[in-house]
Amino acid sequence: MTTLRVESLRKTFTAQRGAVRAVEDVSFTVEDARFFTLLGPSGCGKTTTLRCIAGLERPEAGTIRLDDDVLSGDGRFVPTHARDIGMVFQSYAIWPHMTVFENVAFPLRVSEHPPSRAETRRLVAEALVLVGLEGLEERPAPQLSGGQQQRLALARALVRKPKLLLLDEPLSNLDAKLRQRMRIELRELQRRLGITTVYVTHDQGEALFLSHRVAVMQNGRIVQEGRPRDLYASPASAFVADFVGDATFLPGEVVEGGVRALGGIVRCALSEALTPGAKALLVMRPERVLVRSAPAGLVNEFAGTLRVAAFLGDHLDCIVDVVGTELRARAHPTAELRREQRVWVELPPEHCLAIPDDGWRPRALARTFDDDET
């Protein structure tokens, strides 16, 4: 049983141009055997949080507890080497002057009570089997491929059976195909070993695929935490909605039973915070927006012009212009749709999410066309 508790963590860097608040009041708990992911854009403080857990950074405030041990806080700071962790670095940090075997055996050899030679051999072999690198023991580490190095880093992190596994963007240096495969393996491995894991990534697909729970970070803070499906279905802010999945944002004024947008009223469920007159943002997931070439006479149906219908294999990526607002949608790949033709979009009310408008907007149209990886 291992539980990681992080409370009110804070870390500031003093750089040349003033202080950088890298982590600000971050708290979360990772229950036993859970896969927990810190997700966020570049520079939001994910790595810093992970490094605080590993003891590679010294937080200014907050406590980090592994079960009943205080790793950091309350005036104590356990150095990295005394923490019962395994860590995979973004660069893998495979020691180039050692063989595969030596790399994996290192954590055993430097431990307080090094196991016997035979035992070391057995444990290393076990770890290598775990990641599918058996038989490569004597290979010099630099001769491994990218994917193999990644597995080696994982074997090294697991070999002394740590309580906690820390992973910093371990898949980001791999090519797209390999990344797909490795994330399946990683998920399998974690579920099988039941090791408590903290994972850092900026790839929402990875986060959703791998995790039991995900925390989305923005500017050093956790802005929302929850199960992947909850984050996706009910993001608390436009930032989260945008970062976890694709969305079109429709700003508008709240009216009775819906939001005024697209030249009419979009019917949707409203939370208590959204009283008539308030500013709201409608979050529309493209795959929930239906496109037809003829009207079906349903609620939330709007006429528009098809601007883009790009074939992406398993679907058509569409942009529909509804009274000057560009709405993203997906259509079946066999649908007979032509550019500039008149279409009707349906926004099913149960999939229309209205959130308070905090003024945040995605950066320009940058995300409109980069829907390739997930």
Partner: protein, 572 residues
């Protein structure tokens, strides 16, 4: 791991950052002692009215003299002409060779890199003495036939003579630096110009030249400062020819009667100032160069100019240079080492070849002492420099201690201190403070370590920067304490670079003359100084023998050490 062990182990350990502060503080004190103290003493010495820097009775007598005296103006003019001329000559020769080797299809390209190393290994004093044999007015190999057939001779004891000898010797440095500059330049930049319809000349003028300009400036400045600091040519050629520059003047201030330590310090201060200006300008030039970012670490394959028939003309020119800079000096030294009295070679002199010069130096007690001392000093200074700079580099690269930049700076300061100025500064230091090491090997060790710190810090820092910090952090995350991380991760990864720095410092310490010439005694004589001394007693043929011996030892050492170093690199 049980809960209690985590807590106990954590409680017992000194926090790592406190150990860091102790080590960094120690390093700062050490560096300050090696660099700040001598410079402060030099300053005090230049204005001290009595023989001790700490009497605090000041005079501006010496400073006035070095700034206003008529002879001092001549000194300044001589120094600038000599250093500027030598730099220009070395640059012209080196750049032409670098361009030919890097950018044309000249044959035997790798051979030239190997040959360029030789003058860098041969001590300046050996090269100078060899050219004295070649250009000596009456009996030099070159002058004797000129005199016989054309009735005139080239005067070696002149500014042009000095410039020629120094320029010829430092040209390989220009070659090495400029070929690196040529190689670092992305040829696609030139190709892009060509694709924009610029012809060859326009491409050169608008693209190649501006891109190379920062390198040109920085190489010229390095060569200038080096010539300015050099002691060998000014002492051996300049002094007999009554052409004085700062380095020889400092030496003479102490060696002529009555010696004036104050005057020497004042001259040292001026030389230091010029050298600092030169290096500050150099730094600006290179900082500028980084903006161009022509180096991307890719191995470029530049288009080579097809020389056609001129291929062999270029080859001949390079060959001639190699002959003058390497082969001819070596031949004349061998010849001189085998005769009783140096003269123009003739049937007679060839009949009387003898090994007596070699037996003289082998039996000479002082020469033996010099060999022994040089080796001891080489080993010790290389080891100390590598150890100290590795620690400093680690602090500046890996820690976030405030003031770590100052450490790096302190270790770099000695690059501005000419060897002979360091010598006079150390005399002042150890005449003033009650550590009685003047005249022992210790003061030479202090001088050598100070002088080579910049090379060490440059080598170790760039090596450490290339080692991803996550490699160390991964060891910590694997449960290794700092010692295990240091021992099993850092040292093995750094080893090739450390070995390289060690070899470099060892070799240059065997050639050192300037820093030692004011500090030695008969107990602490070293090789280059021994040659210098033999010259004072007019024993030129023995010098030749010792020089040949020294060249052979150095070239052998370098090739052996490079092989060892190369193997370590391959192992890693």
């Amino acid at each position: 791991m049980a809960a209690t062990t985590v807590g106990r182990r954590a409680g017992m350990r000194i926090p790592a950052w406190r150990a860091e502060i102790v080590v960094a503080g120690g390093a700062a004190l050490f560096l300050a002692y090696l660099t700040v103290v001598p410079l402060a003493m030099l300053l005090l010495g230049a204005v001290s009215a009595s023989g001790s820097a700490l009497d605090f009775q000041f005079t501006t007598r010496y400073l006035e003299r070095v700034v206003t005296d008529q002879a001092s103006l001549e000194l300044l003019a001589n120094s600038l002409i000599y250093a500027g001329g030598a730099a220009a000559l070395a640059f012209a020769l080196g750049t032409a060779a670098a361009w030919a080797v890097e950018r044309t299809n000249i044959p035997a390209r790798s051979l030239w890199y190997g040959l360029a190393l030789v003058p860098l290994i041969v001590p300046g004093i050996v090269h100078t003495v060899a050219w004295l044999f070649l250009l000596s007015p009456e009996i030099g190999w070159i002058n004797a036939p000129l005199k016989t057939f054309f009735g005139f001779s080239l005067s070696v004891y002149s500014l042009p003579g000095m410039i020629w000898i120094e320029g010829l010797h430092t040209a390989p440095l220009a070659f090495v630096l400029m070929s690196a500059a040529f190689r670092a330049m992305d040829p696609s930049l030139e190709e892009a110009a060509a694709a924009s319809r610029a012809d060859a000349w326009k491409t050169f003028r608008r693209v190649t030249l501006p891109l190379l300009l920062p390198s040109v400036a920085s190489v010229l400045l390095i060569l200038f400062v080096r010539a300015l600091e050099g002691f060998e040519v000014p002492a051996i050629i300049g002094v007999p020819g009554r052409i004085f520059v700062y380095t020889s003047r400092i030496y003479l201030s102490l060696k002529l009667y009555p010696p004036s330590f104050g005057l020497a310090a004042a001259y040292g201060l001026v030389l230091l100032a010029i050298s600092i200006v030169g290096l500050v300008l150099h730094r600006r030039a290179t900082r500028h160069a980084e903006r161009y970012a022509t180096v991307t670490g890719k191995g470029y394959r530049p288009r080579r100019l097809q020389l056609g028939r001129f291929r062999y003309v270029a080859l001949g020119a390079l060959g001639l240079y190699a002959f003058l800079a390497v082969v001819l000096p070596f031949l004349v030294l061998i010849y001189a080492s085998l005769v009783r009295v140096y003269s123009v070679p003739s049937l007679e002199s060839l009949r009387e070849l003898t090994l007596s010069n070699y037996s003289f130096i082998l039996e000479d007690e002082l020469t033996r002492t010099a060999v022994f001392n040089s080796l001891i000093l080489g080993l010790a200074s290389a080891t100390v420099v590598v150890a100290v700079t590795a620690v400093i580099a680690w602090i500046t690269v890996r820690t976030r201690l405030p003031g770590r930049g100052a450490l790096d700076f302190l270790a770099f300061v000695p690059i501005t201190i000419p060897g002979i100025v360091l010598g006079i500064s150390l005399i002042w230091v150890y005449f003033t403070i009650p550590i009685r090491i003047y005249g022992t090997l210790w003061i030479l060790l202090v001088a050598y370590v100070t002088r080579y710190l910049p090379y060490g810090i440059r080598g170790t820092t760039s090596a450490l920067v290339q080692i991803h910090r996550e490699l160390e952090e991964a060891a910590g995350a694997a449960g290794a304490r700092w010692w295990a991380t240091f021992r099993y991760i850092l040292i093995p990864l750094l080893r090739p670079a450390l070995v390289g720095v060690w070899i470099y410092v060892f070799i240059i310490s065997l050639r050192e003359l300037g820093a030692g010439v004011l500090l030695y005694s008969s107990q602490s004589v070293v090789l280059a100084v021994r040659i210098f001394d033999l010259r004072d007693s007019g024993n030129y043929t023995s010098i030749a023998a010792l020089s040949v011996f020294l060249i052979i030892v150095l070239v052998t050492l370098v090739s052996v050490l490079q092989r060892i170093g190369g193997r370590t690199i391959r192992e890693a």
